[in-house]
């Protein structure tokens, strides 16, 4: 019962964030330099045509009504039309989102698979080689720009060693056939289509971008795991467990790690902020057909509706991910339910 209330409270607490996000994206579009109506009317516009476009866009009405109009359209899934592609922004984003989700998911998986064991080992052997390795990874991860790491990886693994496929997109359509889209995630769709070769091809394309993006997320995860494990291992209950003669494996994984999980899960919120932002840079390097690359082109082309749609979608995604992080924290640690 207590937990149900806590969960409901957490879900409700995401609502103000969502409202704030919608207001800010609306205001960002209104902060445009110059007159949007003149922009849409083009270079050969007359004052009359600008005025008619302004009326058509509703820009002659009070700001509050424009906001109501914006929310109304949003509620109906209308994010406007992209000037560069001529298609609805929502459609453009929906086509590209799975590529970004697949990349971000793989990067997170990579970061967790390396970061967690690294942090645990560093905390159990402080001052030893693995601890220094952990510190090195954390320092490097915080100082190397994602895009530079991505380029170096491409140069070494593709150009020099030839062990990675050409860094152009998700699947080379010269060698493989695209699977029929089911989930949009190529690593799953190829399996559903029973095409093992294409599955290998899709995974091979994913490796370098995921590592470049994941390295960036690895640093905070490893640092937090190490710190939380050090705290847990030096606590009274671990001392007692040790005094009772429990095996070190039991103490580390059964006691310390379970208690250290809460700060680790909590830092995932920050990690998602990194990942969703750095996604844009990695997609740019690997010609990845995701929402980030789409947004970069939109910003360069002054395609405001597309940029606004992208920012809004990423923010909503981020708010929901943060909510998920909170709910997971509540699930793994009963103390959270009482604090909330």
């Amino acid at each position: 019962m207590k937990t149900a209330v806590t969960v409901a409270k957490r879900i409700a607490s995401a609502v103000p964030s969502l409202v704030g996000v919608v207001v800010v994206t609306f205001l960002l579009a209104r902060a445009l330099p110059g007159d949007p109506a003149a922009y849409y009317a083009g270079s050969s516009a007359t004052p009359e045509s600008i005025a008619s476009i302004r009326a058509h866009l509703g820009l002659d009405r009070p700001l509050v009504w424009q906001f109501v109009d914006y929310v109304w359209k949003l509620a109906h899934g209308d994010l406007g039309i992209s000037v560069s592609s001529g298609k609805p922004v929502l459609e453009d984003l929906a086509v590209r989102l799975p590529a970004s989700i697949e990349l971000t998911g793989m990067a997170l998986l990579f970061a967790l698979l390396i970061g967690l064991p690294l942090g645990v080992l560093a905390a159990t052997k402080p001052g030893r080689l693995v601890d220094h390795l952990c510190r090195l990874v954390v320092t490097v991860g915080a100082a190397f720009p994602t895009f530079f790491v991505a380029l170096m990886l491409v140069f070494v693994c593709y150009y020099k060693l030839g062990i990675a496929p050409e860094p152009l997109g998700r699947l080379s359509e010269i060698y493989y056939t695209m699977p029929p889209p089911v989930t949009g995630l190529l690593s799953i769709d190829t399996l559903l289509a029973g095409d093992i070769d294409a599955f290998r091809g899709a995974i091979a394309q994913l490796v370098l971008p995921s590592i470049s993006l994941g390295l960036f997320a690895l640093a905070p995860i490893a640092r937090m795991t190490r710190a939380a494990m050090l705290t847990a291992l030096s606590s009274d209950f671990c001392r007692t467990a040790r005094a009772m003669g429990l095996s070190s494996g039991r103490i580390v994984f059964g006691y310390a790690l379970r208690n250290a999980l809460l700060p680790i899960v909590n830092i995932l919120g920050m990690v998602f902020s990194f990942l969703l932002g750095a996604n844009v840079l990695v997609e740019q390097v690997f010609a990845w057909p995701g929402v980030g690359a789409y947004a970069v082109n939109a910003v360069i082309a002054s395609d405001y509706a597309a940029v606004q749609g992208f920012v809004l979608m990423m923010a909503i995604l981020y708010v929901l991910l943060n909510l998920a992080v909170d709910l997971v924290a509540t699930a793994i640690d009963p103390r959270v339910a009482y604090d909330g």
């Binding site: 445009l32 998602f272 920012v311 923010a315």
Partner: protein, 291 residues
């Protein structure tokens, strides 16, 4: 890194702490030296660059590193070493500009919110929560797109996404001091809220805020360079590390590695040094926050 020892018997001053940290931590001192070099390059870079960073030459395109051009030349035959040196000023200015801006605005907002409390605190808190509800780099892109594609707006965008960290920090620091006895005494002495805040409280939170700012500088450089890497703000042919990496990236398939490696390494070096010096400064001023 050596752990700080509490064995010093002399009364602890900033200088003795500084010497202690410096002795125990050669890496921080080395980082400080490299950082000083980068700042000097930022100040006098154009005067000491061996070649004109903008002069192109058709006969010198994409030459690998050599004695006259230690970092090689780019697609237009420009000397990459000179461009890397001259770029230091712009990159440092963008980072410092953004950090100073968020530092000043953040301290003011946070201090007022923490001291006054009530509705002001609520509003400031809500606005900061809303900024934090965005993935920060995405918000920066949105701000640059909305305000216009210029270097000044990159600085503003970087400052805005950093603002919540300063506001929250200043708010918390002011909040714990608001009811301390020396503030009570100042209030009894007839000082108004503005004077108490500016003369009595803010000077006390400044050292910790400075640590926050120095830890933030490396991140600000990364952010600004990331924005210019995707083509925002800095326009070619202006030399800037992020845009140089992005220009060099086109030659990765033909193996001209020096075009993107050297500007990228300059960026890494600067961020690395800022982070290490920031850590060192924290150890001196605010040793409890070591991780």
């Amino acid at each position: 890194m050596a752990e700080p020892t509490a064995a010093s018997s002399a009364p602890s001053t900033v200088w003795s702490d500084l010497r202690h940290v410096a002795l125990g931590n050669g890496l921080t001192v080395a980082a400080l030296a490299v950082l000083a070099l980068i700042v000097v390059l930022g100040l006098i870079g154009p005067a000491i660059a061996p070649w004109d960073p903008l002069a192109s030459s058709a006969s010198l395109t994409l030459k690998p590193p050599s004695l006259p051009h230690p970092f090689g030349t780019d697609a237009l035959g420009r000397d990459i070493l000179s461009r890397v040196i001259v770029a230091a000023r712009l990159d440092l200015l963008m980072a410092f500009g953004a950090v100073v801006l968020s530092f000043a605005v953040g301290t003011a907002l946070g201090a007022v919110a923490g001291y006054v409390g009530g509705a002001v605190d609520q509003i400031v808190g809500r606005v900061m929560d809303t900024i934090m509800a965005f993935p920060l780099f995405v918000l920066a892109m949105g701000i640059v797109a909305a305000l216009g594609n210029s270097v000044g707006n990159i600085v503003i965008a970087t400052a805005v996404i950093n603002l919540p960290f300063y506001v929250r920090f200043a708010r918390a620091e002011v909040n714990v001091r608001r009811d301390q006895t020396y503030v009570e005494a100042a209030r009894m002495g007839g000082n108004g809220p503005a004077r108490i805040l500016i003369v009595h409280i803010v000077p006390n939170i400044l050292p910790a805020m400075m640590v926050q700012a120095s830890l933030n500088l490396g991140w600000a450089i990364l952010n600004a360079a990331g924005l210019s890497f995707i083509g925002l703000g800095v326009k070619p042919p202006t030399p800037e590390w992020g845009i140089m990496v992005s220009e060099g990236a086109s030659y990765i398939f033909s193996g001209e590695w020096w075009t993107f490696t050297f500007p990228g390494l300059a960026l890494v070096t600067a961020v690395f040094c800022f982070n290490l010096v920031g850590d060192g400064l924290r150890d001196v001023i605010d040793p409890r926050r070591r991780t």
